[in-house]
Symmetry: C2
Subunit: 382 residues, 2 copies
């Protein structure tokens, strides 16, 4: 795990060197942005910073205070020059997912050349797939123009294979936690998963994850785990979490729980699906098909999330669900009502909905609620 | 004006009678929902309640507190049975405009048969018009199925003419306020404009507006106006306002201003455009074309709003702009930054951004800000 902690600093050096040698960098904010297209263009796709509290005060000079911390943090990082990935990006891709991001991008485009992808609001809509494929085509054309390259179908197929290998590796790591007790703490799983967005060299990144898998398997063989037997197993769903915004995971584990899996888009939500590698298919369509299926709360309806939750609750043998909403994230906040109902009606386990931001101002209050929740889970198994 | 005040009660009786005689009623929440299709189906299109504070407490038992009052009020009215229009609706149409409404509709569909229209997120997107036309076709088919009717092109053309007549009448009324001093107070203009959504008989509604226009013209000829010469002329933009949520208009006029026009979708934003009546055209496409042009903040980019604002500032000879955001309405709240910049860079007039809800809890604070704003405008002209 030590390697992953140091990765951020190392990636920066690699990124700077790559830039100096003429490589192009494309910044992305969201799982709907197909990194395969950027890889196929021979450029480096990077996730942009948005998981720390520090730049939010600067963002609030322009953006409303009552907006989700992820959006404010992303904007603050970008405009203050404190996100090296944004700084090094030649070009940034945004999407019309939620209202906050969609409108924030209108302000952000003053700072960097941007391309906005228009996502259909429902995956099952007639024509949604062809619309989304057309959006991928527009992005492809824009990338070709901005980066001065031509993206062939073979480039795309190769990129799909690379992205799939990465997905498979991180998915395998995530699934090691199906074991009881879990071999990885939620914080370690988050660290390893989170870093994949910042890997400049994807092959090295995959190799690192595979090395971690081997190490964890050794620990498992020795019967090791950070948790005692019977530790309440928690599934975390809702808004994405990253390094800097992990306070709820920390509280849950300090309070005696084991966060065994993340359903969020920073976790299993996007790992659960691979792009079809069938050589006879149009690779752009295959990429569109996969990404359109991501069960994000920005979609209506979003039944895929409930199905995925059910599968994860069963497969990870979960004792309780924590649904995290970043303050003012309307889509996850309203969908929480459906999640609560689904968990209640289909599983006999408790569900805790938390609404918070990146600050520490509500830490004590959260701790009280989290502790009570863990006690509730603990009692069920003792 | 007295007639308009009594209209709500009268409409209810007419609506109940119409229902009893077998007429169908279709409830709508948004200007993007094309009432022409409902009219063409021989049904009664009605706007649904969502402009009063009362049902919000009930809505907050299910919806998050941190959500725009318009959405909470709409949901609260519907689930408590306190909106007779919702109650009498056979069928309700929603749209994917903002995140809050989009996800609220997922909960509302338990209470009434619903159809959700998927709006493209940008009007200038390639394919946006054909997508939106397809959505209108889906709605048409759903209406035909639910109401047991067939909607012909001729039905549609007739409905377009009727809707256009209504638009023209209300637009003419609205434009009478280009006179200085304005012949209509903002509150009266709001009352007359707002009621159009609740008219069961459109022809009678149009006749009423025309009668009001004649009366106002008489008042103008006599040199009458509710305002003294030199009263600061204010344009209200931002979130829609209705009867029950008019507190900002009231404060502005009590504070010595004259709200001469509304740029919002409850006002001039939707009046400024007519549907093309060319008989050779596909009427569905003409309807799609017009409604897609509505410059709502849910669109990205939404440059049409700034253009419209500029035109209205000039034509209504406006001294100041008030930009109203309902709390937690992210799209208008973020777009406020663009509005502020546009007004500053293009017109030498002050712009006040207010964020509030339907309650009276911030009345004193609003009053202080509004009074200071009016004084600022007054000083400029004395």
């Amino acid at each position: 795990m030590k390697i992953f902690d140091d990765l951020r600093g190392q990636n920066m050096v690699v990124l700077e060197n790559a830039k100096q040698s003429g490589r192009k960098v494309v910044g992305m904010y969201c799982a709907y942005c197909p990194q395969e297209l950027v890889l196929a263009a021979g450029a480096i796709p990077v996730s942009l910073c948005g998981t720390r509290d520090e730049p939010i005060a600067d963002a609030e000079k322009v953006l409303p205070r009552n907006l989700c911390p992820l959006i404010k943090s992303s904007f603050g990082f970008a405009i203050t020059g404190k996100c090296p990935y944004f700084y090094f990006s030649d070009f940034v891709v945004g999407e019309t997912t939620c209202d906050g991001k969609k409108k924030m991008f209108e302000l952000l485009k003053q700072y960097k050349p941007m391309h906005i992808m228009h996502l259909p609001q429902g995956a099952d809509r007639p024509g949604a797939l062809s619309w989304w494929k057309e959006e991928l085509l527009l992005l492809k054309e824009r990338l070709e123009e901005e980066l001065g390259v031509t993206i062939s179908d073979d480039n795309l197929r190769e990129a799909v294979k690379l992205a799939n290998s990465e997905q498979r590796a991180v998915k395998e790591l995530h699934e090691l936690n199906k074991l009881d007790p879990a071999p990885l703490s939620g914080l370690d799983l988050l660290t390893a998963t989170f870093m994949k967005g910042f890997n400049v060299n994807r092959f090295e990144g995959i190799a690192l994850v595979n090395r971690l898998i081997d190490e964890v398997k050794e620990v498992i063989e020795r019967g090791g785990s950070p948790f005692r037997a019977g530790t309440p197993r928690i599934l975390l769903t809702g808004c994405p979490v990253g390094i800097g915004s992990e306070k709820v995971i920390r509280l849950l584990e300090e309070g005696g729980g084991s966060v065994v899996c993340f359903e969020s888009c920073s976790g299993y939500k996007t790992l659960a699906m691979l792009t079809d590698e069938d050589e006879r298919r149009d690779p752009l369509e295959a990429i569109a098909e996969r990404s359109l299926k991501i069960p994000c709360s920005c979609m209506t309806p979003n039944e895929g999330r409930l199905e995925l939750l059910g599968r994860m609750i069963r497969e990870y043998r979960v004792d309780g669900v924590v649904d995290l909403t970043w303050q003012a994230c309307h889509t996850y906040n309203i969908e929480a009502e459906l999640v609560r109902g689904y968990v209640r009606d289909n599983f006999d386990i408790p569900c805790l909905h938390l609404e918070t931001d990146y600050s520490n101002s509500d830490l004590q209050q959260l701790k009280t609620r989290v502790t009570a929740f863990i006690e509730l889970l603990d009692k069920r198994w003792t």
